[in-house]
């Protein structure tokens, strides 16, 4: 599994050993994030737009070889946002 630190968090980790290059993850992604070259068993799917992921996991559910793992970034798992900051500014 790819564990390199990313500048932009990569939510969709693909195990190159398990991946059979079948294109299903490209097909099913509702956000058009995953690009897999068709009819080429040599290339892996590319997560072209990692910051546009909904974390729905459809790619993981469809993958026939369980090659995909969805990994959440720190700001989702250990969130420190003050909820009040989402509730607007008071302008008199």
């Amino acid at each position: 599994m790819d564990t390199k630190p990313d500048a932009v968090h990569n939510p969709i980790r693909i195990d190159p050993e398990a991946c059979i290059r079948c294109n299903l993850c490209d097909w099913i992604c509702p956000g058009d994030l995953i690009y897999k070259e068709e009819d080429n068993r040599a290339t892996l799917p590319v997560i072209a737009y990692p910051d546009e992921c909904w974390y729905c996991g459809l790619c993981q559910t469809i993958c026939p070889t369980d090659a995909i793992t969805v990994v959440f970034p720190e700001q989702m798992v250990r969130n420190t946002t003050d909820v009040k900051s989402l509730l607007g500014k008071v302008v008199d």
């Binding site: 509702p30 956000g31 909904w54 607007g88 500014k89 302008v91």
Partner: protein, 583 residues
């Protein structure tokens, strides 16, 4: 097709001309259910969809765990009449009763039709329907079921009906002449092909408006509902001259803090509590139904607790039986497949521990209230104020989750079939110069060197909405927001896309801004507070029942959105110009 996004713009590519009976924009539940009656009547149907697989696109392409329906099984509460009687109160009296009544009357028929398509609503263990009461409804109308394959069955029916489906295709502009819709312009963001589609009727079913305000994680695409629904129907309908209503009302839900995901219905209907920092179960302070109150009330209660300094707020499931916790855990996974993985990565066991929750980002949908949708005003056949232009699902003024989308979608499909029985003359020709202008603008987005990235543009919209249009509204704040949103509109021609996928996002970003402007304009007009923080005016903090049992209708004016109001005693269709013409 290449395995990487296409940056090159196939400028020389010819526009593909298509002609059909019905064009459906959006292949989710509403769009698919609209396509089905049209296909059954032998009409030609073209569906444009931003996803790629019809079986898994739209809001619930990943699955759904509840379906709201009257079933007419015998008891009085299970009749359409009983639910209809409660709708005014459920919507705080802002509702188009003519359309809501038709939707509720059609619920049992459409429910049985969906069952016939192969969706199994029965509980796997008992073989019976597991019906729950939640969200302030006056009966156990929500069927709790494993809807992992719900969309698959509906998509399958559409595919077997031989609809032409244009996937990874975004509709960017409707074709309208003399207040009559006759098709749309679209492009495929994988291939770069452009389509000019002429149709006798158009059904808009592009869902709700997300990515319009900030959430706890700060990630724009981490949204409760699908982030690829960006108010495309609302914005295109507006530009085509259609009337919209209830655009001032916003919707939020409660989510685990950091992950905006679905699941509140499962939590409250199966008995979860919410507690504040003192361990107080506070919902009863806001509504006698406690956690069984309407979603709008639940979100409003948490907003109030946070502003009172009683946060953090926690989800508490510790009192529930193991059996109930098992059902909850399974149901939550059906609604959002990745939630268990999230809890696992977080190292939290919701069965035994408190889980901190947050108010989600705001969205434009149905303001936490069933049957009061924010979007395109429709008549009882789901037709908008523009002739031959229909709307259904979360982009229409009567919205009720998946069943609302299914039922109004089906009504739209049947409405189209009826309309096409009348001969309404030849379709107008496409204005070639207008089409070339759209393509030239798209080419500019791809080639502009120092343009504004769509992400920065969207961030600016979100920040403005969050600060001044979202929860706490004032006249001054809304005017400030409108100034910023107008300034952003001027930057739209120079928005920058890196590739065809980015060009799709540019169009989405413009649609989101347009929706924000409509929301701010409508909010400014409604000088009262209604349904708590769904429309909270700090300068008019109380509901004004004497003057404001009225719809705020937003339409395109000479210089942007203009508003007028209509008494809720009348159906929105009374405000349609085409009604006046035919009356």
């Amino acid at each position: 097709m290449a395995g990487t996004p296409r940056a090159a713009y196939p400028d020389a590519m010819e526009t593909i001309n298509l002609e059909t009976d019905v064009l459906v924009v959006g292949g989710g539940v509403a769009g698919s259910m609209a396509a089905i009656p049209a296909l059954e009547a032998g009409l030609k149907v073209v569906i444009c969809e931003k996803g790629k697989v019809l079986d898994h696109c739209g809001s619930i392409g990943c699955g759904v765990d509840h379906y709201l329906t009257v079933m007419d099984t015998g008891p009085e509460w299970d009749t359409p009449e009983f639910l209809i009687k409660h709708v005014p109160e459920l919507t705080d009296y802002i509702v188009d009763m003519a359309v809501a009544s038709r939707v509720i009357h059609e619920m049992p028929r459409v429910f049985r039709k969906i069952e016939a398509l192969g969706v199994d609503f029965r509980d796997r263990q008992t073989g019976d329907y597991y019906r729950l009461r939640s969200f302030g409804l006056p009966g156990a109308y929500h069927i709790n079921f494993d809807g992992t394959d719900f969309k698959k069955h509906i998509g399958e029916r559409v595919r077997k009906g031989k609809a032409s489906v244009l996937m990874r295709t975004m509709v960017v502009q409707l074709l309208v002449k003399d207040n009559r819709a006759f098709g749309a312009i679209a492009f495929n963001f994988r291939s770069g092909e452009w389509y000019a589609i002429r149709a006798k009727a158009v059904v808009l079913a592009a869902g709700d408006v997300n990515r319009i305000s900030q959430n706890a994680s700060g990630l724009a695409f981490d949204s409760w509902h699908i982030p690829y629904n960006t108010g495309d129907a609302h914005a295109m309908g507006y530009h085509a001259g259609a009337a919209l209503a209830n655009m001032e009302s916003v919707e939020a839900t409660l989510t685990p803090k950091g992950f905006s995901c679905q699941g509140l219905n499962a939590l409250v209907s199966l008995g979860a509590y919410f507690v504040n920092r003192s361990g107080e179960r506070f919902m009863f302070k806001y509504d006698k139904k406690g956690e069984n109150a309407r979603r709008a009330v639940i979100a409003d209660a948490v907003i109030n607790e946070v502003l009172l300094g009683n946060g953090p707020i926690y989800l508490d499931c510790r009192h529930l039986s193991q059996e109930m916790l098992d059902r909850m855990e399974h149901t939550l996974q059906v609604d959002r497949y990745t939630l268990p993985a999230y809890y696992k990565q977080k190292g939290v066991n919701f069965r035994e521990e408190l889980v901190e929750v947050s108010v989600s980002e705001l969205s434009i949908r149905r303001s936490g209230v069933y049957f009061r949708g924010s979007g395109l005003a429709v008549d009882t056949n789901a037709e908008t104020s523009v002739e031959s232009l229909y709307a259904a699902g979360d982009c229409a003024t009567v919205s009720g989750g998946i069943s609302g989308a299914a039922v109004l979608g089906h009504i739209a499909g049947e409405g189209v079939v009826e309309r096409l029985k009348e001969s309404n003359g030849a379709l107008p020709a496409i204005d070639t110069r207008a089409l070339e202008a759209i393509r030239a603008q798209a080419a500019d987005h791809l080639t502009v060197e120092r343009g504004m990235p769509w992400k920065s543009f969207e961030d600016a919209t979100r920040q403005t909405v969050t600060d001044y249009v979202g929860v706490r509204r004032t006249d001054k704040g809304l005017r400030l927001a409108l100034e910023t949103l107008h300034a952003l509109a001027k930057r739209e021609p120079a928005l920058k896309a890196d590739d065809l996928h980015g060009l799709m996002r540019v169009h989405e970003a413009k649609n989101i801004r347009m929706n924000a402007e409509m929301m701010a304009t409508a909010s400014l007009a409604r000088t009262e507070t209604r349904t708590g923080s769904a429309h909270w005016r700090l300068d008019y903090p109380e509901p004004d029942e004497a003057n404001w049992r009225r719809f705020v209708i937003v339409e395109r004016g000479a210089d942007g959105p203009v508003v007028r109001t209509l008494s809720t005693e009348r159906p929105l269709a009374d405000a349609f110009a085409r009604s006046a013409l035919t009356a």
